[in-house]
Symmetry: C2
Amino acid sequence: MVNRSDIHYFGAGPAPLPTAVLENAAQVLLNYRDKGLGLCEISHRSPEANEILTNTKQALITLLDIPDDYDVLFLQSGGTGEFSATVYNLVSIWVEKQRAKIAAEVGDDEAEVLKRLRSVVDDELRLDYLVTGSWSLKASQEATRLVGAKHVNVALDARKSNDGKFGRIPAEDEWTLTPRARGGPAFVYFCDNETVDGVEFPAFPKSLEGDDAPLVCADMSSNFISRKVDVRKYAVIFGGAQKNIGSTGIAIVIMRKSLLPPTSKSASPDLLRALNLPVGPIVLDYPTISKNNSLYNTLPIFDVWVAGQVMDRLVNNYGAKKIGGQEEVSNEKARLIYETLDKYSDLYRVVPDKTARSRMNICFRVHGGDAEREKAFLAGAEKKGLLGLKGHRSVGGIRASNYNAVSLEGAKLLVSYLEEYAKAA
Amino acid sequence: MVNRSDIHYFGAGPAPLPTAVLENAAQVLLNYRDKGLGLCEISHRSPEANEILTNTKQALITLLDIPDDYDVLFLQSGGTGEFSATVYNLVSIWVEKQRAKIAAEVGDDEAEVLKRLRSVVDDELRLDYLVTGSWSLKASQEATRLVGAKHVNVALDARKSNDGKFGRIPAEDEWTLTPRARGGPAFVYFCDNETVDGVEFPAFPKSLEGDDAPLVCADMSSNFISRKVDVRKYAVIFGGAQKNIGSTGIAIVIMRKSLLPPTSKSASPDLLRALNLPVGPIVLDYPTISKNNSLYNTLPIFDVWVAGQVMDRLVNNYGAKKIGGQEEVSNEKARLIYETLDKYSDLYRVVPDKTARSRMNICFRVHGGDAEREKAFLAGAEKKGLLGLKGHRSVGGIRASNYNAVSLEGAKLLVSYLEEYAKAA
C-alpha cells in the first residue's frame, strides 16, 4: 500500500490535487451540508449549487483581480472543446460586426448586404495563430477544420527556425501578424504555456498591445492561476480544469463583457451558413452560457466545487498577495529544478530554449536522450516516490510538471534526486 | 444532520447514486488501488484508466446485449451536447454517401459533383424529429439552428392534438415522416423518455422498422439501462450519465459500427461549408472519438468509473436476467405509484395520458393543481424524508423520478404517503 504522503506526483495532467481538498470531497460526495444527499446528486439548479458556482467564481475574481467588465463562464468542456468554442464565438461576433457596419451603409437591401459581407469575409476574415507547441498547433488545425485554411494565418510556426522542433519563441519581429491597418485579424490566439513542449510565454507579447490591439485569445489550461495575469489585455482566456485548477470535467472561460450581449451580438446561424462559416453547438455558445449563469445545460457541480476549494486555499494562503503568492512559489520551484539541471549540463539537457522555459512543465533529457539510461533514471525516481516524470511520447525524455499542487517539498526532493543521480553518474 | 438513510430522493437529475458506490468513490478519490494517487489525478492514458474504460464498456455491453457490430463511445459531454453531435455526425455521413453516389456517376468533374450534390441537399436532406416533450423539442430546435429550418421535418408535434401541451403520443398514422420512397430522412430522432413531461415511448415505433428503415437516433438520457432495448433497431442511442447511469460529466453513445470508418465516411469540412452545412467541433466527432477509444481529449475517468460501478451492481444483481431484472423493478415501482394515484383519481391527476406514462418520471397534480395545497403536499412529503418531488417549472405540480437508484422501499414509502395524504384529504 502506497500512501498519498509517500509520493510526489509530477504528471502533466490530470494533475495532483491537494489532499485536504480530496478529503473534503470524500465527505461531500456522500453528504453535502448534512442534507442527506451528495454533491454529485444535488440539482445544478439548487440553492447549494448556485452558492458553489458563485463562490468559485468569486475566488477566481479575487485571485486574478478580474475586472468588473469581464465575465467568468464555466462549461462542461475541456481545453480541446474550447479550441473550437473560441473560433465559433469570435468569428460569429466578427461577422455580425461587419454585417452591422455594411447594413448601416447599405440599408435594407439584404441581398446587397450579403453580397458585400461575402466579399469582406473572403478578403478580411483572418484568425492569427501563434504556434509555439503541440497545443497551439492543434488549436490552429481545429480552426482550419472549422473555417477553412484560407482564413487561418499561422503568424508564427516556432518549429521553422528551430530544426523543425518546438522549443523556442522567435522574436516578435519575425511574426507575421495580420496587419492592423487592413482591418486586422478577427483575433490572435496563443497558448500561454505548452504542456507537451515545456514552452511558456515569459510575458504578454508587446505586439499585441496598444489602443488598436486585436482581440487576444489565450489558452491557459496548464498555467492557469500560477502567476499574475493582466486580464484586460485579453478578449478571452480559457483553461481546462484538470491541471492547476481542479478535476477533469469543466473549462473556465474569462471573457470581456463587451464581446457579449447586449454590446456585441453573434451572427445568426442562417447567416453563418450562407457565408460558408461554421455554426457551433449551443453548449459552446458563450452568449448562451453567460446569459444562463453557466447553467444552460447540466454543469458538473462537483468539479466546480473542487475548483472552488483549490482556489479558496490559494486565497487563504496568500491573502492580499493573491495569485502573486502562488507565482512566487511556482517560480521558486521551477528555479530550483532548472538551476540543478543547468548545474549538471553535461548530464541533463533542458529541451526548450532558456528564453522560453516553462515554469510548469520542465522537459529535459538525460545522457543525451539515451532511451535505456532515461528508463533507469525514471526507475530510480520511482523508487524515491517521485512519479509521473515520463515525458510526452512526442518529445520523449523526462517532464516534471510543476503545477500548483506540487509542493515546494516535492520540488526539493526532485532536486535532491537530480543531484544524487548526477553525482553517481 | 440528515443521514443518507433518512431520505429518499426523487429528483429528476442529477439523480441519486447507490450509497455503496459513493462510499467506494470516497476512497478511490484519495487513493486508487493503493497507488498513492486518487482517481481524479491519474492519467486518462494510464493502464488503470484504460481498464476502467474497458470494464465500464463491457458492463454496458453485457447489460444491454449490445451486438458486436455496435461501438460504445464515452464523451466529455451531456445530453444537450449530443443533440448537436447527432446532427453534425449523421448529416456529415449522409452527405458523404450522396457525394460518393454522385461521383460514381459523374466521375472526376468536381464542379459538377458539387452542383448536383447541392441540389440533392436542397431537395432531399431532411431530419425527422418526433417531438413528444421538452427535450425532443429542444433537440429539434438545435437541429434547426445547425442545419436550417428547411431541412428539419417535425414529423410529430405531440402538443398539436393535446391542447398545446405535451402528454400523449399520437398514433403513428398521424406522424408525417419523410417518405422512404423519396430517399427518406437522413435520420429519425426521438426522445425515448421525456424527463420534464413524464412521457415515455411504450415500445419502439413500428413505422421505424423494416428492411428499408431509416437511421433511428434516440435520446435515452432519462431511461438508460432501465429496460431492455433492441439495440439493432437504432443507428445511435445516447444518454447523459447523470440520471440512471452515474454522475454529470459524460455522455455515452452506442453507435452502429457501419456508420463509422472504414464502412462510412464523413464529409470533409470544406465540402460541408460549401454546402452551407455546419462543421461540428472535433470533440463531438464520433469517428474521431471512436478511433481514439474515447480518449481523443481528456475523458473524466472518475465519471466513467462511477458509471462502471453502477452498471457492475446491476450485472451482479440480475445476472443472466441482465437489464431485464432492473426493468422488472422499474416497472414494479412505477406500477405501485401509478396504481395509487389512479385509486384516488379525485385527488391526484396524472399529467400525461395513460398510454404514454413514463416509468421514470411520474408527473401528477394534487387538488386539481392548486398551488398552495400542492406546496402543503410537498412539505408533508419532506417531513417524511421524501425529497426532490417538486415538478419542473414548465409543468408544475409533482414529479416523482423513479430512476434505478430509487429503491423499491423508497417507492413504497412514497405510496404510503400518497395513501395517507389521500385518506386525510
